[in-house]
Amino acid sequence: MASSIRPAGRILARASRTSLLSLESPVTRTLARPTFFSVGPEQAARTRSSNGITTLRRAFSTSPTHCKAPSMGQLKARNSTGPFSWKSALLFVLTGGGMIIYFRVEKERLERKRIAELSKGVGKPKVGGPFTLKDLDGKEFTAEDLKGKYSFVYFGFTHCPDICPDELDKMAEIIDKVNEATGGEKIFLPVFITCDPVRDTPEVLREYLKEFHPGIIGLTGTYEQVKNVCKQYRVYFSTPRDVKPGEDYLVDHSIYFYLMDPDNDFVECIGRQDTPDSATRTIMEHINDWKREGKPLRKD
């Protein structure tokens, strides 16, 4: 910003200098009289008394104007347009426009930062927290595994009639778009946590998620573990505990995506109203803010 102001300042300085010069010129002309001849005051008086005033005036008036003519012309030309040349007008418009854009971008960034900071708050974050589940290979997966990357958490179940499949198709699009925008950096973890651990075993989950995107990390666990993670993420958990084999049921669950930052703090919700494009924009804004602040990211 300072660099954009400097040229404007220089123009102002130049403008004031030219106007000062034009003001000074009559003064310099009068001052030039004694120095032009470089004579003492007695001598000057003597010349004036012998030659007469008329010759003196002619000598003084012609020679200095003759010397100064080109520079005066230049000054006049500069004065006629003043500081308002097309160059300075363009510079003014560009600087002004640039500053408006800069302030607008900065305001948006601070607003996003405020949203992100809001959920950090004092003490415990409101959404998200420690959990232990297992991934599709049966390995333990905890909240620690999400740290260092942005994670995108969705809760659902494979027997979900229509909303989850729609949202997972959207998630697949978002994953591709974000990966494209980050240039393939592995800093974005899409996670699907089942709310229905009885039916959604690793094998079932793997088959199900394969149809949407191979990059989605499927997580399941025991009834208690899933209940705990739902509680951490403030997800309404209504899965019946004792289901008879073959019994058919649905599970109520939250239909939001949770964007979590590399500290595993909640950043923002992506909901049904978001399109893949608007969701990607939101996510990339947060990722870029994080990068701009120079905070660490895990890229393994």
């Binding site: 494979t158 039916r199 088959e207």
Partner: protein, 116 residues
């Protein structure tokens, strides 16, 4: 009334590790198609709630209902029937609020208020 096309033999419904395999993309699609056929039949016969007016629905759209129930699991059939009523009521409410808003604007305009 078979409730799952893929449940004819129970082994195909159960994963090796004991989980229950959910409908895949194509069977979901089949279910949605069955649902849409049944619902368009309900529309033609002015039936909104297929749970409450089950007898009517059975009589007038028996064939479509049977298809719908073969293509979707029982929980899904119930879910979609209830969702239809819920969405109808939701749309009615939105329409009512819009009408009320328009009436209010007209009322205010007649009192000399102008929209900004």
């Amino acid at each position: 009334m078979g409730w799952l096309p893929w449940s004819s033999d129970s082994s195909s419904n159960t994963a090796a590790d004991g989980g229950r395999i959910a409908p895949d993309r194509s069977s979901r699609q089949r279910c949605y198609e069955g649902r849409d056929l049944f619902f368009s039949c309900l529309d033609r016969n002015d039936i909104l709630d297929a749970v409450k007016n089950d007898k009517d629905a059975q009589r007038k759209c028996g064939k479509e209902l049977a298809q719908f129930e073969t293509a979707c699991s029982r929980a899904w059939v119930k879910y979609f029937k209830e969702k239809r009523v819920m969405e109808y009521n939701r749309d009615k409410t939105i329409e009512r609020i819009k009408k009320e808003d328009a009436a209010k604007v007209e009322d205010l305009k007649s009192q000399g208020w102008t929209a900004r």
